[in-house]
């Protein structure tokens, strides 16, 4: 059974700081997705990582994928309040229809 674990599950940080969210998964996959969810809203796609070593960046967020370590990271640089949200990673089983989701990381960035 594929398991996807995110840590931390909750993170409170100050503006201007850097931090990393980790997404570990338990079986082979080379496709991983990051999503953002604002309070009371639905999920929006952030990054699509489709191969080992993939790195994507948008603004203060950067995501990477290491398929050998079965690990993806979402790095936040010089955090700003607008990045406060819950972040989910999801892993694609290569022979299945559905994505397997992490529990989400609730990120609060304080001014």
């Amino acid at each position: 059974e594929l398991k996807v674990e995110q840590n931390p599950l909750f993170l409170s940080m100050q503006e201007g700081k850097n931090y990393t969210i980790y997404c570990n998964y338990s079986t082979t996959s080379d496709r991983l997705y990051w999503y953002r969810q604002d309070p009371g809203k639905s999920l929006e796609s952030l990054f699509v990582l489709l191969s080992n070593g993939a790195v994507k960046q948008e603004g203060r967020l950067m995501a990477s994928l290491d398929t050998k370590a079965r690990l993806s990271t979402l790095h936040i640089t010089a955090a700003v309040h607008d990045l406060s949200a819950t972040y989910f990673c999801a892993v694609d089983l290569n022979s299945n229809y559905q994505l397997i989701w992490g529990a989400g990381t609730k990120l609060i960035i304080k001014p």
Binding site: K41, Q98, G104
Partner: protein, 112 residues
Amino acid sequence: DVKVTQSSRYLVKRTGEKVFLECVQDMDHENMFWYRQDPGLGLRLIYFSYDVKMKEKGDIPEGYSVSREKKERFSLILESASTNQTSMYLCASRVSGFGGYTFGSGTRLTVV
């Protein structure tokens, strides 16, 4: 702009009512999904469909059924709504084999 549209953002229903949640996508995606999301429990898959008239149970199908008569429409049915089905319901679709999900805006259902 591609879309997944859920028919209602907010619904309030009474215990015992039959409830229909509708989801329509305009991307010609084969796969469609219904999730519920509750605080502290993450996303839990109720049902999914990989083709017209095809459906598969997810992790928590009890108390729910689904219908997919047309490719673009996937309906979630609460046969007899109960208060423990109060939740945020999210519909999503994806193309077969590749790509992430596109989510609808969600339906917040309250059963009283």
